[in-house]
Each structure stands twice: as C-alpha cells, then as structure tokens.
Amino acid sequence: MSDEILSDMNGNLSGDMSGDMSGTIVSIRHITKRFDSVSALNDVSIDIQQGEIFALLGPSGCGKSTLLRIISGFESPTSGQLLLDGNDMSALPPNKRPVNMVFQSYAVFPHMSVEQNVGYGLKMDKLPAEQIKQRVQRALEQVHLQDFSTRMPDQLSGGQRQRVALARALVKKPRVLLLDEPLSALDAKLRDAMRLELVKLQESVGITFIIVTHDQAEAMAMADRIAVLESGQLRQVATPEQLYARPVDAFVADFIGNINSFTVLDLQLDAHGHTAVRAEHLSTVMLASQDSHASLSASAGAAQATDAPRQVQAVLSVRPERVGISLQQPADDSVQIQGTLGDVAFQGQHCIAEVRLPDDTSISAIVSNEQASTFPDISEPLPVWAFWQADDMLLLPRHA
C-alpha cells in the first residue's frame, strides 16, 4: 500500500492533529478479520499518533474489541498489516509485543498480592529483584496504591483492582497501553473521577493510550482523537469537536450526541453554490454546497433516471441545542416546523423539550430553564414552533 493513499485517507478522515505529536506509533493497514464467514472488521486503516489518547468507539459488535485484540496479539487479522513503530507485528505473539492491556474484567491475579501482581511482568522479564521492587513501588505511587502493596485482590474495591491492573501494565513501560472498556465496571460517580485521573495519568507517563469504549461521552471526554466503527467498518476518525460538528454520515451524527434527522426526499445543486434540499416535514432548505453534496445529488439523479422510488439515502439533521422553540411563528427566514409541545424534561442546567409532529414523530430541542417555566401548564396540546438556521443543518449520507 502506498503512502500517498494513506496520507490522503488521513487527510480526509482525521483533520488537524492537536498538540505536538512525534509521528505514527501504531499503523493499522487494511485490516480485515473474519470469524468463520462473519466479518468482524472490514478493511480498517487507522494511524495512531505517539502520545495521544485514541478511542475506538462504536456500539457492541462493531469490531472495536476485535481490533484491540489484534493490536495486543490475541487475534490475528485475516488480512492486512499491523505496524508498531514501523515494524510488522503479525509474527509476534502477545508476550513479545511492547504493548500492554488493561482488561475489561481487570484480570488481576487473585492468588497474588498487589505487589506480586504489579511485579509479575517484570519477573517474567527476569529483572533483578531490587529493580523490580523499585519499579513496582513507583508504579503503585502513580496509581495511589502505595499503602496497599501487601493486600490480596479480594480485599480491594473494584476501583482499586482497576488501579492494580493499570499499574501492572504501566510498570512494563509499554509503547502503547490498551484499555478495554476501562470504566464500564465502575459506578457512575467513580467513573467520572477515574476519567479525569486516566487523562492525568496519561499526561504524566506520556504513553500512547488506546481505549475501547461504547460510551460516546467517555470517548469525547478523554480522547484526543476518536475512531467511530460500525459493523466492522471504520466510519470516521477525528477529534471529538470535529466528530460532533462535522460527522461524515447519519450514523456518526446519531452516535455522537443527539440529533434530529429528517429523511431527504430530493436535492439539487444550483449554479450559485447552493444545494436545495427537500426533506420530509420541511420546506425546501438552501445549504451552501459542499463537495460531499455532489455525489449525493448524483445518486439522487441516478435514482430518478431508473424510476426507482425518489428517495435519496441521506438525512438533513440539526442538533437539539440549535433548535429554538417559540409559541408564535418566528418572523425571520429560519427553518420552521409546527407541532405540539410534548414532554419537557428537566436536566439540571437546562431542559430538553419535545415537539410532536403530526405523524407522531418528534424532534427535541434544548431550552433554558427560564423559557421552560413560561410554557403554560395546560392539558390540551399546546401548538408551538420549532425553528433553527439553515446553516446549522447538516446534510449527511445514510448507509443502508
């Protein structure tokens, strides 16, 4: 595979890199993994940068764990290449790879003390006992477990066991640390604290972290960059901000945060750099044309030519925080839709209001607590207008 294609791909998918990264550490190239005939990963290529926190995000069964297991060496790809620091890893068994893993179940050895657990990897490397002791001590300090070194795992809480697993992997000074759903077994309060702590720990040790998670909030909060996977396909690699603001398709937009989507019925590019989109429930919306619109328009044209049902595989979407609610019809040129006010759910700093549309679907909008308190409390449906700016809308392809 030539480097131009790779860099081109990164240019398309990943956008700017934040911070000062000193180059690619893990290079996943066209990796495909099939179990029997089921395809778990389909031609996935990702470059992971030295020193970043990289998240593999997707719903369960999307192949993210399989990818992590391929990097750690517990699975081998059906085809494709895995490079670490430019070296092909495919022939190396897990115990010879300079990567370490924090398992979802933590996998702390129940018959060894905290100290023995953390020192295990160094003992396998046949390091002198004195050096093992020092490094174990330092690793335990890093995860604030220095007072627990003689405890057995069954005397530790879930959070402490996770720290043991972290220290045990970090003490080996891996090139890359792999974390499989690191926070999923913790309770909500501890999870938030641990999120911050993991980020701080990563900053202090400077090791590249690859985190597998199904929780988009977790990925957004921790990762420098995120790869979104769906049924074995890589959908997008980008920073959290880019993923949110510029998702490449309807799946990513829906998976990263909430979004209101309208099925596109027809779209046309005009000569003045505008795209006219007709979507259900909405009047025609004019968008500033982007490159991606051309191919959508082409597919729409093709569908018309073949007399297929006139539906474009695309949605027109808007984030709830861009949607305003008004009791009167707004007088400006915003995109507007009339419905009735449904549930208003108090979220703390704001409310999420639901606007029911005639066909029983609904869209959500974020409204301030002040505005929510002005909604009259009446039993019959209250007619309201939802409105937003056309520029806030995203035209996104939808994969069948």
């Binding site: 517990f74 370490n100 398992f103 979802q104 050895f109 018959h111 396998m124 992997a169």
Partner: protein, 306 residues
Amino acid sequence: MQDIRNRLGVFFAFSGPTLLWLILFFVVPLGIIWLYSFGENVSLTRIETTWTLDNYRRMLEPEIIELMRRSLWLAFVSTLVCLLVGFPMALVIATASHGAKPWLLLLIMLPFWTNLLIRTYALLNILGTRGRLNDLLGWLYERADQLLHLIGLGRLGLLGDQFTPLKLLGTQTGVIYGIVYVSLPFAILPIYSSLERMDKSLLEASMDLGASQWQTARHVLIPLALPGIMTAAIITFIPALGQFLTPDLLGRGQVDMIANVIERQFKRANDWPFGSAISLTLLYVTFILLALRSFNDAARSRRVAR
C-alpha cells in the same frame, strides 16, 4: 425456607428416611465393627468385647506394616498418574468448543455407567500375557523385525531373539493401571470444573505481561486450579487406598492391598476382631488426611485475610 427450618415436623419428614437409613445401615454397623475391634474370638461364631488392644497391636506386625506401606504407595502412584493424565484432559475439555464439550464429558462419564466388575474383566482381557495389549505389541514387534530384515539389519538382533510378552497381571504396574483406569474420571471432573470457572482473561493477562505459555501454566493456570487438583487428589487417593477388586483380579493375589487382607480376616481367617481393627485404622488414616486438608485450607484463607 425459613419456615421449613423452623418446623421440626417438616424437618424430620424430609430428612427422616435418609437419617434412618444412615443410622440403620451405616452408624450401627460401624459401631458394631468398632466394638469388634476391641474383642476376642471366644468360639467359632462368638466374639466378646473384652476391650483388649491386641487387635490394634497386631497392626504393628511387619507384614501388616508392609501391606499398609504398599497400599499407600500404590494409591499415591495411582493418584499421581491420574493427576498427570487428568490435568491435560481437563484442560482440553475446559477449552473445547461448545459443540465438542458435552461429547468429551460424555466420554469421561461413560465408564460410570458400566459395571466395575465388567470393566475389570475387560482389563484382564487387555492386560493378560496373551491379552490384547501384548497382541498389539507382538504385532508391532513382528513388523519392526520385518523392517529390520528388509533393510538388512536383521542379523544384529537389535530387538532380541523373540518377542517377550509384558507381564502386567500380578504386578504392581498392572494394579496401578487398573486403579488409574477406575479413578481417572474422579480426577478429571474436579480439575475440569476449577478450570471451567477460571476467568480466561487471567491467562491472557499473563501472556500480555510477557509470560510464555509454560510460565503462564506454572504461575497462573496451575496455582488457580490447585483447589480442584487437591480435590481430585483426595477423591482419587482415598478410594484407591481401599481398592479391593482391582488388586484381587489384576494382582492375581500377588499384589495384595490392605482391603484384600481385611477381606481375608472376615472370610478365610475368620478373625473378625482383627479385620475390624484394620478397617478402622484405614478409616482413621483417611480422616487424618482429610483433616490435614481442612487445616491447610483454613491456613490458606487466614493468609488471604491477613
């Protein structure tokens, strides 16, 4: 559940039949044996409990001590072989695919559903001097001999003059073979269940931290399977120590174990008091072994709780 526990009537209705059975056919006979062991033969059919310790003193006779030593040794070796053969098998079953697992377990359970006597006679057929095993070895000898002649090495007599059948019946090896055959399922199942329960990611974590397969087996797999291995050892060793049929049939009367002597006291020698004393001694040895195991477990859990 609370209700059942609090009502004596229900308790006895449910457990009564079993309790009665145990008392009538286990506790009472055992008590009688215990009394006999302190008794003397006063006539051909009458035993009087005179609280003599002679029967126990006779346990110290060299031939009985030798028998006890041999029984312990045979049981020990059989147990060891069972563990060495059983552990890999248990590992295979525990890591087998969902489709294969029930069939492998069935293979292990199958001997349970066959009469011990039939199984032992089948072994006689296999292990005999003209048995199937020697048939096979003899056939292999013939082929190897022909091959050597074919390549012109026949004259050197590398394989000896002629095939000498292995003598297994009437030897300790034959008895060990028989005991292992009978006990192997008991060794495999507890090890299997301890491996089955083990979190497989522990093994992966060990490999991930740089351990080879052997190091993982030594430092993680076997230590974590140890409770299962201990259980397997005990439930193999104790019945092996009391083996009666296997040494009787496969040992041809030349490899007696302690149970064969006990049988002889009750039958041919008509010395029930001495037979009772040996039986109870065997029981005490078993108790001591079990107690040692419990103490060991308790010490282990105290260490963990430290």
